[in-house]
Each structure stands twice: as structure tokens, then as C-alpha cells.
Symmetry: C3
């Protein structure tokens, strides 16, 4: 367990692990203290997500490039997946969808924009691999179009559409997973040399031994699942207490909490002038949520949910995803960045957050 | 008539010509067998379209570059035009519009995507002339904006808008034809060297003698017109029998039937690593339908239709055309392609087809 | 006063200054002759705008690059600002908003497109600085997204949204001004070398002495303000007399009148093969109106308007701004232009103008 303790000593974010036992005790003693439980569960999820991310990368580093890339690409958003599963089991489909849409937008705008800004404040002009950014933007574009369809159908025909929306959602989910799989085949196998220089892993840190990594992966996933249940139960009531709208909570708070660990990695890459890494984490993670996590949740809802979940999002969320994708495509075409590009992208995110914060609850 | 017979021996698609007499006989004997007539007329139109396309190219090859390009650019979608005229005379404006929108989307997404995929499976990376793709994408963008306006007006003001929509449609039709004409002037005359390497024609096959080509052009146009009438009469009833929605039939089936000959040429170009040819056929044909065929149909409807036709499309069709144009612009900016680009573009098409297939009929 | 007279002799547009006293006399004698007053006030504003623009550039040329650029960037649309203030004081918020949206669209499409066309008719292919065009397109994109939000909120929740729309509008206004300021910091200070070659000023004409320039700036601003009041009072009634819809007047007529002076400069730059200058005037001016003039008007409305003004635009206007921004981004990515690019951009503008001209008044 030495490497784990060393990692904890090295990384101050992991000191928050102390809140993991605290939140369990608090949930037992004061199950109705929603605001406290919400804050504690957030504080506990952040370090667990960081551990999960480190363990995934260590396993990936051991298993060779293609298999490791695949592992990273499927388990990279394990935290988001586990939180969403907890909400799915509770039948909180609005929260699931808001957190999916929010995670896509937060990764595409907040994580990318802040990486550009933080990197640009230190380095005058930064370059990154355009091919990778274009591939991820293309995948995101595909996913956004897919998510547009069920809302569009519901708009033109509100009465008879529930059954149709479910059929369409399953079809789209399968299509997106196939598209994601083919994208991995393309970028990790048949045309991998175009995406070189984007490699995750390493980052200076030595990977853990495989046994420790696998044990951490398993153990931490269980812990995240348990904390997520407390989080999902408390988040809506806590939001009311803070005067936040549910849309703001799902879209902004949950998304930022779930992505905290990846953001830390992306920002640190940008400061070290490894913008390839930051762009790849930000857009890759958004694409993964849109083309893998969301479709898997739809298919799983037939097994574990109280009723099936569809892919019909609130129209405002679809518009925000579409704008986020267009913004990412626009700012990454040149393959270069400076601080103001980061400001522009962040401001688009602030506009969305501001709107959701002010939006009356019944309108969502 | 030797070159015609040689062409028929060489090209298995032309063996389907045997269905031309069959469909006429069947329509005489069993006019109420809609499903059979639909299938037979599809089988008869495909080889006729291929002949028409070959004859047009032969005439174009004889008349010199600029005039030949102009001929190709005006008669290249003769099949679509003749089918649409049959539907126009029958007053089937929904079918006309669905087939126009469907042909634009099918050419922009299906023909382009399948060319990228088929070419990419054989060649690792393929390059094509960006200038040509940008010009066609720009023209398509202009047409999509024009087609957006009448729907937008109808949305804000449903009562008094019929007269206004007709006035606006005529104005837009004239504008689009002028834009198309100026685009030809630009690409065939004033700045033709930027679009070189895009030349159609040739493709290894020797062009026919001019007399045979002109006779084929005239004779086959008449045959297509006669078969189209059977096709238009049978398609809606056949669709019901197959359990397809009218939108799916017009948008997908009619569009793929009408474009079969061009698709064969585009795919064969892509396999031969002449992607310039494929991109130019796919986007050029889409632009021609949007900026020439559709406006001409609007203007002709004042002469031959029971009532004037406007350019007001079903909002979903406008959105699909807009997304198709954006997709084409996005994937052609780099001037390079690999197999996965084709997958992405095809998947957008599949999303549309899937949605239309599931859409309840009354919602269209 | 010699340079002023010399300028008047040199520039035929300034001969229209004779209409300034005429319009004041006419307004005194015949206050109800709206059509005459409208025409006279247009004829008077055009030369005043040209003087204002020349005086601003002269002051800018004296005060050094960064400060001069800042002055140009804040006072460059003084005419539009003064006209809008007159309408704001009169509580004509529909006119204010239509003229803001119209000025953005007219600068982005009409001024840019006509510059490309006029330049392209004289020069085969023209090049311009892509970095500048991308920055301005990015700022415009940000502004368009901001202006989209209040309309989107109003759509989903019409009842309780007035208070929310006002709060959101103030927040967005502050955000846009901050974004505009940071954009100036970026392009004039920290990364100015990327935007070199874009410098306004000079243009062959010697700048005026600072005293004359400042006096002209002050005096002409007062004159524009006085004429604008007559213009605002007469424009709506005159529009009815001409059979124009209010949307067409605000969006097209007011926008073209307010921007006449800048258009003259942009077109002359394009003819002299200084397309950098034209693109920078057109897109820079549009960005300034969207990110500086419009937000300042919202904030000022709390001080001088009868009631606060929000940023909620008519949905059609938002769509047109969005399309205009996308068009500008699309045609400027290559950094090259030829005459047909101008035709394409102008045609998008004609489509909008045609639609607004035909739109029934109650639908706006």
C-alpha cells in the first residue's frame, strides 16, 4: 500500500478522503440534514474520483497501448456513471439527464476554456493536435444531433409520442455506442499515428502496481456508489435550501463535482504546456459521456430502472449542448490557443450558468 | 446503336432496363396493384437514370468545357426533375417537397458519407479539392437559409401568411437561380483554375457519338417521365402497405431511387481514389437540386400545377437540410478524408432515416 | 478651420451637410410632415456620421496606438449610439432593438459582402488577416449566444419572466462589456502583433489637428443627437406612408443610414486591395455594437429611459444575427476572397431584407 500512501501525501486533493467516513456517519446519525449531507458527499466524491482516475490510468499503462486506451475510454467517466446509476435506480430521470447534459457542457466549455485560459496566462501561444480535437468534435456533433431528435419529435407530436420516443431512444443509443466503438477503432488502431502526442498516462507520475490499481478500482467504485446514493438523496433538497433551481444543480453543480478529478489533470497539463493532454481530456470525456455513458444508461434503465429512460432532453439543454459543440469545433480548428480564447469559451459557459440560475423552476 | 449495346453489356445496372416494358404492361393490366407497380417502377427508373446520366456526360464532353459543364450542371438531375414534375402535375406538393429535401440530404450525407467510407476502406487517407467543396457548401448554405424563411414566417403568423409565402417563395426562387448561375460563372469561367481536377466526364469510358447521345437523352427522358407517373401514383399506397410513413418514403426511398445512377458514379470514383469526383458529384448535385431544381419547380407550378407551389417546407425537413449542410461544411474543410469520416456522415443520415421511419404520420 | 473645409471640398458625401440646417427649419415649420422630415433627417445624418468618423480617427491617430485603438473601439459607432439614445429616451424600445440587430446584421453581411464583391471585381483574389476576422467572429458568436438566452427563457415561460429577463439582461450586459474590454486588451495590448496590418487610420488622408478634431467630435455629436430626435419621431410614420413594415425600417433602413460613413470607408479599402481594413471595419463594428453599444444602452435605460430595457429580441432577429455570425465565420476562415464570396454573403442579406419587407406587421 506504499504507493497509495505516497500518492495521498503528494496530492493535497486526496486529503479530502477523510470526508468519506464522515459522510457515512453523518448519513446514519442525521439522515434529514440534507444540506450538510450534500456538502459532505461532494467533499467525499472529489478525492474518490481522483483516486479512481489514477487507478484507471495505472491499469491502462500496464495493459499496453490499445487495450489501455480502450480501458481509459470506457472507465474514464466511472464517477459520472456511478452517480448517474444511483439516480437511475432512484428513478430520478430529470437529474440523470441534467447531469449528462451538464457534464457534456461543463467538459466542452468549462474544462476546455479554463485549460486555454490557465495555459495561456503562462504561455504566450500554445499548440495542440488538431486531428484529435476534430475527431472528438465530430463525435460530439453526432451525439448532439442524435439527442436533438427525440425532443424534436416530442415538439411536433406531444400526444402519441411516448412509445415512439422510447423506440427511437433505444435505436439512437445503439447507434451512438457503435459510433463510439468505431471511433476508438479508428483512433487507437487503424489511424493511431494521426492522434499521437495525445497519450494520457505518464504525466511524470509512476503508475501503480497492477494489483494495487485493480484493488483500488474495485474498492473505490463501491465507495463512490455508496456516497453517490447519499448525494442523490440530498442534492435536490439542499438546492432548495441554497435557493438554486434544480436545473442549475444538475447542470452545473453535479457536473463540476463529477468532473473535478479530470479537471485537475486537464488544468495541470495546460500549465505544463501539454495542451494536447488538456484538449484530449476535456473533449474526449465529453464525447465519452455523450456516446457511451448516456446510451449505456438508457439501455440499463430497462434492467435496473423503475421504468425505461429515454433520450428526450429538455430543449434548452439540447440547445446548450449544440452551442457547446459548435464552440469547441470553432476554437479548435486552428490548433492554436491564447488566453483570450479561454475567456471566450468560459464566457459562453457563464452565460449558460447565469441563465439556469435565474430560470424559474417550473419552466424546466 | 453499337456503343449503347456495348454499354449495356458492360454495366450490369443497365440489365434492369428489362423492367421498363414490364412496368408499362403491369400498369395496363393491374392498375390497382400499387405495391407491385411501385417496386417495378423503382427497378425501371434506376437503369434509365444511369442512361440519362451517361448521355448527358457524353453531350457535355462533345460541347467543350464551359458549355459541357453548364449542361451537366443543368441536366445532371434530370431524373429528379422529371419525377418531381410528375408529382407536381398530380398536385402532390407534399411529395415534391419531401423528395426535394430528401434528395438534398441524401446527396449531402448518404452519397458523400458512403463515398468517404468506400474510398477509405481501400485507401488509407484520401485528399480532395477543398475549393470546390467550399463553393458547393456555400451554395447549399445559401439555399438552406432561403428555405428556412417561409417556414419561419409561417411559424410566427399562421393566418394571413399564404399570400405572403407565395410572394416570398417566388422572390427566393429567382434569387436562388441567379445565385446558381453566378456560381457557375465563377467556377466554370472567371475562376475555373481553382476548381480544376474536379472535371467529371471521361472516367475511362469513351463518350458516345453526339447523335446517339442526343437521341438517348430525348428518348430516355420521355421514358422516365412515363415511368415516373406510375411511380408517383403507386408510391403512397405502397408505402402504407410496407408500413412506412409518407415522410420516410418521400425523404428516403424516392431520394435514393432518383439518385441511384449518380451514387454509382460517386462510389466508383471514390474506390478509384478520385475523391474529387465523388465530392463534386455529391455536393454539386445537392446544390443543383436546392438552387436550380427546387426554384424551377416553384416557377413552373404557376404554369403546369393545379395551384402555385411555395417553398415552405416542414420545419423538420429544414432542420435536417441545415444539419446536413453544416455536416458537409465541417467534414470538407480539411480537404482530407479517412474511413471514419464516412462513418460519421453516414450515421447522421441513419439518425434522420430512423427518426422519419418512426415518426407518426399525422405529425409530418 | 482650413482642414475641415478642405475635407468638405474633397469628399462629395459631406456636401449633404447642407441638409442639416434644412431639416431643423423643416421640423420647426412642418412638424407633421413625417415623410419629408424622415428623408431630410436621413440626408443630414449621413454626412454628420462621416465627419464624426473622421474626427474620431484623427483624435485616435494623435493619442498613440493603444489609446487610439481604444478610442476608435468605443466611439466608432457614436452615430448608432446617439440615434439609439434618442429612441431610448422616447421609450421606443422596439426601434432600439431592431436598429441594434439590424446594424449587426448589416455590418456582418451587407458591409462585408459588398466589400468582398467590390474588391473582387477589381482584384482577382484578395487576402486578409485571418486572426483579426476570427477574433471578431468569436466575439460576435459570444454576443449572439448571450442575446439568444432572454428570448429562449421568454419562450419557455411567458408569464413570470419579466423580472427574470431584466435581471438576466443586466448580467449579460455586464458580461459582454467585460468580454469586449478583454478582447481589446488582447488585440491592442498583449497579442497585438497577431492583428497587425489591420490598423485603421491613415488611409492616405492627413489627420486633423487635435483641437479641430475634438471640437468637431463635440459639435457634431450634438448635431447628430438633435437630428436623430427628428429621425426617430418621423421614421415610423414615414414607413407606413412608404408601405414598409416597422421591422424593415428598423432592421434595414436605420441600420444602413447609421452605418453609411463606415461603409464608404470599408468599400474604398476593398477597392484599394486593403481588404484587412474592410473586414476589420465591418466585423469590428458589428462586434462593437453587439458587445458595447447594446449592453451600454441596457444599463443606461435604468438611468434615462422611462422603464428599463432588456436584451430580449424578437426571435427572428436572433436567428438572423446567428446566421449572419455563422456566415461571417464561414467565409473568413480561409483568409482569401473572390467576387463570388461577396455575392454569397450579400444574397444572405437580401434574403433577410426580402423576408422582412414582406412580413406582416403584426407578426413582428
Amino acid at each position: 500500500m506504499n504507493p497509495l500512501l505516497k500518492e495521498i501525501r503528494r496530492n493535497p486533493m486526496l486529503w479530502l478522503l477523510v470526508f468519506v467516513p464522515v459522510v457515512f456517519v453523518a448519513a446514519k446519525l442525521k439522515p434529514e440534514a440534507h444540506t450538510v449531507l450534500f456538502v459532505l458527499s461532494v467533499l467525499a466524491i472529489v478525492p474518490l474520483a481522483a483516486l479512481l482516475s489514477h487507478a484507471t490510468e495505472s491499469v491502462a499503462a500496464k495493459t499496453g497501448d490499445a487495450a489501455g486506451g480502450l480501458l481509459n475510454a470506457t472507465l474514464g467517466n466511472l464517477t459520472e456513471l456511478v452517480i448517474a446509476l444511483a439516480a437511475l435506480r432512484a428513478g430520478e430521470y430529470m437529474l440523470v439527464k441534467a447531469s449528462i447534459a451538464g457534464a457534456i457542457v461543463a467538459n466542452t466549455l468549462f474544462m476546455l476554456g479554463a485549460s486555454f485560459l490557465l495555459g495561456g496566462l503562462k504561455h504566450r501561444v500554445q499548440e495542440f493536435n488538431r486531428a484529435g480535437a476534430r475527431l472528438q468534435a465530430g463525435l460530439l456533433f453526432l451525439a448532439t444531433i442524435a439527442l436533438l431528435m427525440p425532443s424534436a419529435i416530442a415538439e411536433v407530436d406531444s400526444a402519441s409520442s411516448a412509445a415512439i420516443t422510447h423506440k427511437l431512444s433505444v435505436g439512437l443509443a445503439v447507434l451512438l455506442i457503435v459510433g463510439y466503438g468505431l471511433g476508438l477503432l479508428f483512433s487507437l488502431k487503424t489511424h493511431r499515428e494521426f492522434f499521437a502526442g495525445e497519450e494520457h498516462a505518464g504525466e511524470g507520475e509512476a503508475p501503480w502496481p497492477i494489483g494495487l490499481a485493480l484493488a483500488t478500482l474495485a474498492g473505490v467504485t463501491v465507495l463512490v456508489a455508496l456516497v453517490s446514493e447519499i448525494f442523490v438523496e440530498s442534492v435536490q433538497k439542499a438546492a432548495e435550501a441554497f435557493g438554486m433551481t434544480p436545473a442549475f444543480v444538475g447542470f452545473v453543480i453535479v457536473a463540476l463535482v463529477g468532473g473535478a478529478a479530470e479537471m485537475a489533470a486537464a488544468f495541470s497539463g495546460a500549465r505544463k504546456n501539454r495542451l494536447d493532454l488538456s484538449v484530449s481530456i476535456a473533449l474526449g470525456s465529453a464525447a465519452q459521456i455523450a456516446l457511451f455513458v448516456a446510451p449505456v444508461l438508457v439501455l440499463l434503465s430497462y434492467v435496473i430502472g423503475p421504468t425505461p429512460m429515454d433520450l428526450q432532453f429538455w430543449p434548452g439543454a439540447v440547445v446548450m449542448m449544440l452551442i457547446a459543440t459548435m464552440t469547441a469545433a470553432f476554437v479548435t480548428t486552428s490548433g492554436r490557443s491564447a488566453w483570450f480564447v479561454g475567456v471566450l469559451v468560459l464566457m459562453v459557459y457563464v452565460i449558460f450558468a447565469m441563465t439556469l440560475y435565474l430560470l424559474p423552476p417550473q419552466a424546466q
